[in-house]
Amino acid sequence: MPKQRENGIRRRNATVPPGHNPFFTLAKKLCIPDVIPEVAKLRRPVDGAVRLALISMPDVSYVEKDFKWRKALPSGVHEEDVRRTLAAVSHADSKRMLVAFREALLFAVEEGNANIVCVSELGLPSRDAVPLQEAQQIAFEISCKHNALIIAGSSHDSRTMFNTGYLFHPTEKRATWAFHKNASAHKMGERIMTPARRRVLIVDAFDLRIATMICLDVVDYTTLASVMAAGDQVDVVLVPSYTLRFEKMQDVATVASQALPGVVALVNARLPVGSSFIAQCGVEIKLPAPSVLPGGAEVALLSLKIDELKEKRTQAKNDLHPYLDWMFGNRYIPRDLQGPRRF
């Protein structure tokens, strides 16, 4: 049985270094938080509660597909440095994934009345390292029909060498919003390219500001710092994941939720280490038992009261740990400056 998560950072007598955190000042500029303006059409639910569905896609047999550098390499550059390895899904598995994907999305919106759906990393059905257009079309149509925001998981893409996630929301004409993983999980066998211009996608929906980032990005200080810098305007962070170190990721999510402060939700693939986890302002929220569907996906449903979350955020800002606030740019506890001196 997994151990109970400890509540974030609580010791208040830790010494806070003087001045500003220079790492934060520079790191936050390396990644841009970008807001999609159009999604403001998703209105606050009448009952003031937003229903969240976390879909853990079944683990399929990913084949490691190597991409080698075809040109002559400069002296001193090793072939290993430029090798890329993507997770590819066979034809048969991709069909199975597509069935499970559709079944899970429909369950989330029809049975769970979900407003927001988030699918795990590498959970977007793909074939031979190319995301299936059909899967994206399904996600878009379900989003439109049920007025839901769908973060449809991610997939490795051999056309870009990125690990790319897709977000769908109801519109008359399909708009494709893609976001890319900014860090390669090489210990998991992933060797992807990462974007030259890092960004985190943020959406306005259901009276909430929701950021999304893929797996290791929540561990990466630069990516997290950019979201924290916008923390006044980010309530929820959704993190599609595929990790065997889920317990460690939960610790990160808990502290990140405390620093934001807000909700950080991890949606792992359906792996023995655990499938989903949510922390709110430094405290784990117990998820109800998930539903396991015939296709193999697992769906966890949770209702978040919007006003209650905002109240907790306000309170958590008042009670924020000084060291955590310093780590992410003194956003809620004003920083002491030296008096001006004229020379």
Partner: protein, 328 residues
């Protein structure tokens, strides 16, 4: 550092920023610490009393008072449409009673937007002694273009006067109306907080570094920036050089706080139409001078607001006010 970055011009000690106008906002609060601490039930009772009084004539009195202080006719003032009732809500653990926002209509000579509210502290955690607050905020209406830079003193003086007079009036009315509810909770300590924030609006698209370098130098307000101290002195309605520590006295300190701003549109990568559809979130610093005198604090700050909506000063003012009010 890359070669491209090295080719960018470096900033002089005071970057040249084309500042077009200023948006001042003033918040004043009366602080009270009750003994014993208030209960949730009492705060709900207080809300019912204020709501009933509002319907029975307090709304008219509030409007008349504001009109008199603003120097406009009552017809030139209006409550925000659809939000004419007194609201009760929780802000964290704190119950709030919010009066409707009142603002001048188009055509009024003076453009003001005023809101009063009460934060009633019910936190009985041992060792914590937060106070209740009766707030009044006065600033320009939404999307106001702000005032010319040479009018900062005049405009902040006007808003400060409005906030103080209307705030005092509302405080007296609130205390009188809720006397019975709080009869067993004597105010043991009182205090006063006044927070003035000036958002500077700019032409062009300076970057975050330019904004920061204009305000700050070596973790201190940029002493070489004459404009910074001129604007701050105007906002504080002081005729001293704020760089002169002796003139300011010992109970003064400088603080900074950032806030998130949503930029009107993407300001880089114009080559890509796709990227232009996003709006970037950025961080903007504000610096504040805090002056203390016993249980009274005056806080005056300045920063850049390139949000396009002109609400950043108001948002930052709320943020720093919350923090400072809990520490008096």
């Amino acid at each position: 550092m890359s070669a491209i970055a090295q080719l960018k011009p470096f900033h002089h000690s005071v970057p040249e920023i084309d500042i077009r106008s200023a948006v001042p906002v003033v918040r004043v609060a009366e602080l009270l610490r009750h003994d014993p601490v208030l209960t949730l039930k009492q705060t709900k009772e207080a809300h019912v009393i204020i709501e009933e009084a509002w319907q029975a004539g307090l709304a008219g009195e509030y409007l008349a008072k504001a009109a008199k202080v603003f120097g406009v006719s009552e017809q030139q003032l209006a409550f925000a449409p659809g939000k004419e009732t007194v609201r009760y809500r929780m802000d964290g653990k704190t119950p709030m009673i919010d009066l409707p926002r009142v603002r001048t209509r188009n055509g009024a000579k003076v453009k003001s937007d005023q809101r009063s509210c009460v934060a009633l502290c019910i936190d009985d955690t041992p060792g914590i002694k937060y106070s209740s607050k009766v707030w009044t905020r006065v600033g320009p209406p939404e999307l106001d273009l702000g005032c010319p830079l040479d009018k900062i003193r005049e405009r902040t003086r006007m808003y400060r006067r409005q906030a103080n007079i209307c705030g005092d009036w509302f405080y007296d009315r609130f205390v009188a109306l809720t006397k019975e509810v709080f009869k067993n909770n004597e105010p043991t300590e009182t205090g006063r907080l006044e927070v003035t924030t000036v958002g500077l609006q700019v032409r062009g698209e300076p970057d975050e570094d330019a904004f920061d370098d204009w305000l700050l130098s070596n973790d201190s307000p940029n002493a070489e920036n004459e404009d910074l101290f001129r604007f701050l002195a105007a906002a504080a309605d002081l005729d001293i050089d704020l760089r002169d520590a002796d003139a300011l006295g010992p109970d003064c300190e400088w603080k900074s706080i950032p806030h998130t701003v949503e930029l009107p549109s993407r300001r880089s990568d114009k080559a890509s139409d796709h990227i232009d559809r996003y709006r970037e979130l950025a961080s903007r610093q504000f610096i504040y001078l805090v002056r203390k005198a016993g249980n009274e604090q005056s806080v005056v700050g300045i920063g850049f607001d390139d949000s396009g909506r002109g609400e950043l000063a108001s948002d930052v003012a709320l943020k720093i006010s919350r923090f400072m009010a809990n520490r008096i």
